[in-house]
Structures are given as C-alpha cells and as structure tokens.
Amino acid sequence: MTKKIMTKLLAVLLGVALLPLAACGGSTATTPAPQTEAAKPTTAAGTEQETTSAEGDSVVNVGVTNKLSTFNPLLLDATEVAKYAQGLSFLPLVELDSKLNFVPMLASSVETEDNITFTVKLDEKAVWSDGVPVTSDDVIWFILNLMSETMSNSSFSTFYMFKGFDDETGMVPDGTTEVEGLVRVDEKTVQFVAKMPLSLETFQNTFIRYILPLPKHVLGEMTPEELKTSTWFNQPEVVSGPYRMTEIDPAHYVSYVANDKYFRGRPKIDRLNIRVRTPSQILSGLKSGEIDFVQNTMAAVPQEDFAAIEALDNVNVAFDNPVTSNIIFINTKKIPDVKMRRAMLMAIDRQQLVDGLLLGNGEIADGFLTSASPYNDGSLEPVAYDPEAAKELMAQVDWDASRVLDFKVNSGDQTFVNGANVIAAQLAEIGIKVQVTPLDLDTLLADASNHDCDMMAVQYTLAPVDPFPDIEWLVAYGEDSWTCYDNPEVTRLLGLTQQATREELTQHYMAIDRIMQEEVPIINTYVLGSFGASAKRLQNAQASVYGFFNQVETWELVP
C-alpha cells in the first residue's frame, strides 16, 4: 500500500514537471470541452494503456447530487438515487414510465381482482447474466430476506399489510422459506396476499417497484447476516439488469459495465458511471462534458442555473411535470388554532415566491396534489394572498404576539432559505413573529421527527401515482408525524383509497386536499418545475421525472 503510494507520489512529482506537455496535448480542440475519454490527446502525451482502453468503449456519466447509501437491494431505503443505481443491475418488478404508468420490468404483468390477492407474472425471457432464468423463487427468497429480522430493514415495514408478516414491524423470522402472503404459483408466477384491501397502484408503487430480486442460485446459501455485510453487491457477478457494477464509492461514484446477456438486448453504451456532485457543480460538469445526463429525482439542479444550462450548446434540457413541492409542515400541537393557520396561509404571497424565486418556473397548489398528479381535477383553487383577511382572522385568535415561532428550513436549499425570510416578513405583517433557522437536511429531519420546532420546511416529492403512503404518514399518524395532525375524516378517506377506482381516487384525494386547505396542517409553498438535461451526443435518453432508465439499453452515443 504505502509503497504503491510512494511510487504514485513520485510519478506525480515527475508528472507535475511534465504537466505543460500534457496540457498542450489536450488544448488542440476549440470545440466544447473534449469528452475526457472520447477526445483523448492524440499526441505523445497519451500513454499506450490509456488509448487502448478508451478507444473501444463508450462511456456515459450520469450526474446525481445525493450520496448513494447502499448497493445491496436487501438494505434499500427510500432513497430514490440508491433505488435507481441498484435497479440498473437488479431490475425491479415494475417501474413507472414518463407518463406515470406502471410498466413491467422483470415482471410481465401485475393483476388483481379483489385488491387482496395480487398475481405477478415474471417475464418469460428474463434471465440472469449467467444464463439462469429469473424465477418466482428468486422473488420470494428476496422478499423473505428483505424482511428478515436480521436485515431489520425498517424502510419496508409496510409489508405488515401482507399475510404472514409481523403485524407491527412487517418482518419475518430469519430463515423463513415460505409465508402465507407469498405464493409460488409456478416457475414464473408469484401471488401476494394482503391482510386488507390494497389498491393496485399502492401495491405496485409501494411494494413491487422496490422489489429488485437477487439471484437465489448464487446467494441462496448465505444467511441474512452474511447477506447483510457481503461485499458481493459491490461487484455482483450475476445481474438481471442492463448494467453490472464494477466499482463503487457511495459518496463519490458508481461504475458499471454493460451486461452482455441483458434479456432485453445488450446496452449500446459499454460503460456507465453515476457520479456524485454538489448541485453547484452540475452546470460545469454538463458544460465540460464530465456529466452527460441529469434528471430531477436524482440531481437537484439549482434553480438559478436553469437558464445557464439551457444556454449550453452541447446539452438538451427537459422541463417536465412539477412533482416536487416545498412544503411547510406546521406543528399543529404548537399552533393548534385553525384560524391562525389559515391566516398564515393567506398571509404568504406564494405567487410572488414563484415569480421571484423560481423565475416563474413553478406553480402553487393547496394540499398535496400538483398539476402532475393524475388525481388532480383542477377544481381546488389555491387560497389567494390576502393579508387584510389574514389580519382579520388573527384578530380572532388568542395569540401572544411576543411569541416567536421557530421555523427550521433546509440550509442546502438556498432558494427556500431566501423564501423563508420573505415568508417570515410577511407573517410578521399579520403579527406572527418567526425566527428562521437554516439547518442541514439530516439535522432538520431529526429535529422535525422530535417535534423540536414550530414549523419546518423541506422539499417533498409525493409519488403522483400513489400519494397514499406519504399523505398517510404526513397527516394521519397524529403525534408520530411532523405535523402531529389527526383528523378521522382524513383517515377515513385514506382508507377508502385502497379499494377505489381511478375516479373515486380523484374524489378522495381532492377531498383530502380540501381539508388541507381548510385546516392547514401544511402549507404547500410552491411546486418546483422539474428539470433535467442530457448531452446532445446522447440519444434516446429522456430526462423525464420517471422511467428515464427504463430503456437505458437503447441509449446511444452519436459521434
């Protein structure tokens, strides 16, 4: 190790002396920054090794701004980045597409008749990269390990909804090989049996979208304990997806090579990298060609860079459905008076924030549903900015004007930090003093969980196709939620959503949003327009909110 470093060090010292040479070699191009690997200097500065390896392979870099937590699908948490990164190697059963429809990935179909039993058929052609077919056993083995006590994967405790899983934690004892709720019908068919009615959307969105089956024939001998700490996942030899991970560093990058045996066809791009950057580096990365693709659920591009990225001549940008809201969660225990909360809603000039901070690239909505949601019928008019009415309302409230509300916001979201100060000023107009405290995201979430603030705001993306679990957690968990909000009517409506038709769902969710507008446990400050970008040389890549990796095998580089 040390010796290697020393030699490297020496090499570097020598190299610094040679630097001018290398720099000259690379400077021949006046075109947009040369692709670091594609446009290797052809002068003597390039070493043999480099040119041989770089010449044949095509490489695409995907930029993300969140760190990747884990590469073991069994340890998957709700982080979208991790799910997509793992999904490239281990296909999920289903995935959303850009139109917010569920499309089969490893599965070929998902059906239910009674909202209790769900039948999942696997793609007949689906095979592991070693040629072995993907079977029901892989799916069942994966789920039973995912929910094993040792794995203790708290992110999927909702599995309690299925028969045979613990009513509280959703777990099964280690070594469980079969449970009531998972039925192996045949080689390619699995049935899930729920304890209570469950909508098909929720089933797909909450559960099987996150089921990334693993090859039982390779890993089957491992105990959950071994699986948990195995480094096999860092360089899996057998995968089901289009790409196989070769190297990872969760805080910095993941490298993949194409899976030659991918059952939907070998990807046209030989190598793919996911690179973790800070939001402010996305622009320079796109410009220099170090990043080819960004997309909004994986990379939060700063609002103020949108225009500059749009102006780049090597990049196509994509504005897509607004799905991410910046929501103020009000602790209803600390601010119990509905009138006061309504006054607050009225006192904030949200349109001004959209125009001023988002440069118009966003919208306002009351409640949870954005214009991207399939259940939004557009009938709910957001409460208008009306400071006078707000003052009148406040007059009826017994509020100690000297009290200062503690408003915690995410320091990483500079746009909203600025907005929060505007909001504080506007609330002060109606006699509510607010102290804005910017905190890093992790601390902010921890404080919110512990109810250590009066108000807090974060960016929150509700899955448009199935907002149920998020809404349930945010406003129906009572004191276990950030808002401490509890309303039997909301709980009832949420219950109904689980066996409703599409039309009924619209009704129920709109009803919930009306209650939100009335009772104001949350203020949806603004909904951000989503933003993605891809290099022009990259074809067939659509920087949509959902489903962008679904056909990653068709991505192609044009010369």
């Binding site: 690379g26 480099e50 006590e149 708290s154 480094t231 910095h252 921890a446």
Partner: protein
C-alpha cells in the same frame, strides 16, 4: 530509544481509549441515527426493532463498551446508513486522500523550504519581499474560490483538465490520467498552504541565522556556503521537522472543501456525511483513525526531533 517508543506506544492505549470515550459521549449527545430513519414507509415498531438491532436502546456507555469489544476483535463495525464495513470504507477512501494530501504536502515543502530559506538568507531583498508578498496572497485567497476559478479556466474555458474525480471512470486510467485529475486540487491545496509554510520556515531560518553559533561559523572563515548550507540548514531541520509533523494529521483528515469541489473520492467527504447522518460506527472509525494518526504523528515528530537534534535524548 526503542524503549522510549515502546513506552510511548503503551501510553497511547489509555489515551486512545480516553479519546474514543469522549468522542462516543459527544456523538451520542448530538442525537440518535434513528432520528434520520423516519419516513412514510417506516413504522415506529420497525424503528424500535432497528434500535435493538443496532444496540441503540442501550445507554451510551454500554454502546461504547460493545463498540470497544468489537474493536478488540479488529472489527470497526458497519455503517448504519450504507451497511458497508467501516474498515472497507476507510480503506477505500484513505488512499485517494493520502495521495492528494501527500502530493500537496510534498510539493508545498519542495517549494516552501527553498523559498523560505532563500527569503531568510536574503532578508529585505527584492526576492524576499516578493516571496513574502506572494505567500500572503496565497494564504489569503480562499481555496474554494481558487478552485472555482481553476475549474472555470482549465475545464470550462480551455477544456484541458477534468474537474472531478481521481481517474476517468470507465477507462483504464493510468498515471497520466491520474496526474491530469490531480493538477487542480493539488494546485489549490499547495496554493493555500505554501504561503504559511514559507513564512514559518523563513522565520525559523531567520532565527537560526541570528544564533551565536552561526556567528562562530562565520568567524571560522569557512565560507558563506558552508555557513548557511551546513550549519544553517542542519539546524533548520528542527523547525522543518515540526512543520512536517504538524501537517501529518491533515494528510489523513483530507480537505473537505477541496475534496467536495473536485469530487475527490477521499476521506473528507465521507467524514462530513457520516457526521451529518449520525452514522455512529463510521464516525467512531474515523475518530479512532484520526486519534491514532495524531498520536503517531506526535511520536514520529519526537523521534525525528531526536534524530536531527543530538541535544534531545529520550530516556
């Protein structure tokens, strides 16, 4: 000397335990990692189960004891967030950090030592003023700003150098590729530290030049060269060893900002995110590493001191 080193190593054990106890206490006062796990799909029961599984239901000193026992078996534990072995995480990140920081330190010293000595020997000369002025400029430009300027010029405008990572992922890389990636972060680090080093070495050498024994050396008529390069430099080794010793811990700590700006896959970023995410085992692993490095660097400095200064003997 061997005995002295052995003794110091033995003393280091209780010191290390003390440091880690304090670290653990402070860390657990800062909050529980469970706070970070709440979410729409997480039930309280599942969290409780997770707490028991992680041992977080125990009082902090019991948790510490468990950690220590694991450590005795050579096991630093697994990241709560990433579930990866802490040792593997550190092992992966320490190489890049050492490479980056080591190169920067080496280049810094290669510049600072001769310039510092020149500056001291030619005090109040034009060269001295130039060196001192430049050293102030160097240390007063913020590193991140310089980094952004470099990226703008060399990556965006000229397209000569990559702005991120350590190698070009997806290629075989190679030494030249590595160097191309290192140029800008190393430049930033060298720029920010070379100034203070120059000034330190300059003042150290200036002090040595005023020593009586330097006058004695001149009185011997052995010539200016021998006076400065034999007596001056040899004595200047002492402060130089101190400078190097002081900077060894930073070799391992990494430079968070530089690593972040250049997406360098090192320890600095890992440390920061572990702290933000309250990833206990990772934090403790890094805390232990830095404590060991600091103690080892101190010992190394003391030993080197004795090597270069015959007046110091350790008994």
């Amino acid at each position: 000397m061997t005995k002295y080193i052995l003794k110091r190593l033995l003393i280091a054990i209780p010191v290390l335990i003390g440091i880690t106890i304090v670290d653990y206490l402070i860390m657990s006062l800062a909050g529980s990692p469970l706070d970070m796990m709440r979410g729409p799909r997480v039930s309280q029961a599942a969290l409780d189960a997770r707490a028991i599984q992680l041992g977080l239901d125990q009082p902090w000193f019991m948790q510490y004891f468990v950690w220590l026992r694991q450590l005795m078996r050579g096991n630093l534990g697994y990241s709560i967030r990433g579930h990866e072995a802490v040792l593997a995480m550190i092992g992966r990140s320490i190489g890049p950090t050492l490479l980056l920081m080591g190169t920067s330190l080496a280049i810094t010293l290669l510049i600072a030592i001769p310039v510092g000595i020149y500056s001291a020997v030619h005090q109040y000369s034009v060269g001295d003023y130039a060196a001192v002025t430049l050293s102030f400029v160097g240390s007063s430009i913020p590193g991140f700003f310089l980094a952004l300027v470099l990226i703008y010029v060399f990556t965006i405008r000229l397209g000569w150098l990559p702005s991120s990572d350590m190698v070009t992922r997806g290629t075989e890389g190679g030494t030249l590729d590595l160097i191309r990636h290192m140029v800008m972060p190393v430049t930033v680090l060298v720029f920010s530290s070379v100034g203070s080093n120059i000034r330190y070495i300059r003042s150290a050498v200036l002090e040595i030049l005023q020593q009586d024994y330097m006058r004695t050396a001149r009185a011997k008529g052995i010539g200016r060269f021998l006076v400065i390069y034999k007596h001056g430099l040899r004595n200047a080794l002492l402060p130089i060893v101190t400078v190097i010793g002081m900077q060894i811990p930073t070799l391992f700590g990494g430079a968070v900002i530089v690593e972040q700006v250049f997406a360098w896959p090192g320890l600095g970023l890992m440390t920061m995110s572990a702290i933000l995410q309250r990833d206990y085992p990772v934090i403790m692993g890094i805390a232990l590493l830095s404590a060991v490095v600091v103690l080892a660097a101190n010992l190394l400095t003391d030993v080197l001191y004795a090597v270069v200064n015959p007046a110091i003997t350790y008994e």
